[in-house]
Symmetry: C2
Subunit: 199 residues, 2 copies
């Protein structure tokens, strides 16, 4: 049972990875069961065997990915000290140097899906809240440490979070002149303005 129990699980994980890869390449609307199967080197039957539908596979893949990302983020932040340092860390992650998201592509897809699908809407709201609350914590920490100064921590947080989304769009669309490094710099510069601090 040692090998037998593992192989199917391994296969399942491989399919999830294939889902993510196809999703990045073809987008939510363009992803077909057959694509996933091909990318995973298996049959479309198996994809539907493990996940009961295409939608199920997509959902589970995204959920898994996002959870991994936030777990990483929260662990990383806890291990970093100093609010300014934490902010830099978030800028790095957002700019895509991190391993888990890498692609804002998937976020864009999620946003659009959220426009028309209630369950996607809830998912993205939750994810956004999580990111925003991480940011808010860092801001608050900086303010009470006297490192940051802002008229309204809530507003500043929202603006910084939204700015990152906006920058990410340029990055995802490979707008000329937008690179991860530039994105990071631009965001940190804005943070410095917002928080009256040199970050």
């Amino acid at each position: 049972m040692v090998i037998a129990a593992k192989a199917p699980e391994e296969r399942r994980r491989r399919i999830l990875a294939a889902v993510v890869s196809v999703l990045r390449e073809r987008g939510y609307a363009g992803t077909r069961v057959a694509d996933i199967a091909a990318a995973a080197g298996t049959s479309s039957g198996l994809v539907l065997y493990h996940f009961s539908s295409l939608a199920g596979a997509l959902t589970e893949a995204l959920t898994t990915l996002e959870d991994a990302f936030y777990d990483d983020l929260e662990r990383d932040l806890a291990a970093t000290d100093g609010p300014a340092e934490k902010l830099r860390h978030m800028a790095e992650l957002g700019a895509g140097s991190g391993p888990a998201v890498g692609d804002w592509t998937l976020w864009l897809e999620l946003w659009v899906r959220a426009l028309h699908d209630p369950s996607a809407r809830m998912a993205r709201e939750q994810l956004d809240r999580r990111w925003r609350s991480c940011l808010r914590d860092v801001v608050d920490e900086g303010v009470s440490a006297g490192v940051f100064r802002t008229a309204d921590a809530g507003d500043a947080t929202v603006r910084l979070a939204c700015l990152m989304d906006g920058l990410a769009i340029q990055l995802a669309l490979e707008d000329e002149g937008m690179t991860p490094e530039r994105m990071q710099l631009l965001w940190l510069a804005s943070a410095a303005l917002e928080l009256d601090a040199s970050v």
Copy 2:
């Protein structure tokens, strides 16, 4: 021929309007020829008669809409005086008080399509450039008038443009706590910080 020449054109315009309306409601991926026909009160045959394909209809509808928006914007800006006033005007337009875009929804759709479709990518790049160059002009005008002050006008422009996109996402997704008014305030506050001016 007086009436006869007009009626078909009118019908065509009605179809274009229907395309936009369906697009808003169902999104790019969810829009079907039959939906458009129903919304326009006509047959799917006619939709394909006027525009040779579904994709053609979608493209023409979006193009028309965007051109109208930018024509409005540029005319409005020309008629407004004072850079601070112009900035307020842009904030208003962005926050959706304007008539033409109203919906950032369509922008989100365009972004996602741009991820996978080269022609959409070019279209959105051009539109973005146009918006950004309007903003840049206003910033420059303010700087040379001595009303605005910024370390780098280019960076400030990019950040303000991206912030607006990010705020727009929250607005489009009806994130709790985001309203057109709040979006406008948040953006103007950021502009004030960036440009060292009270806007």
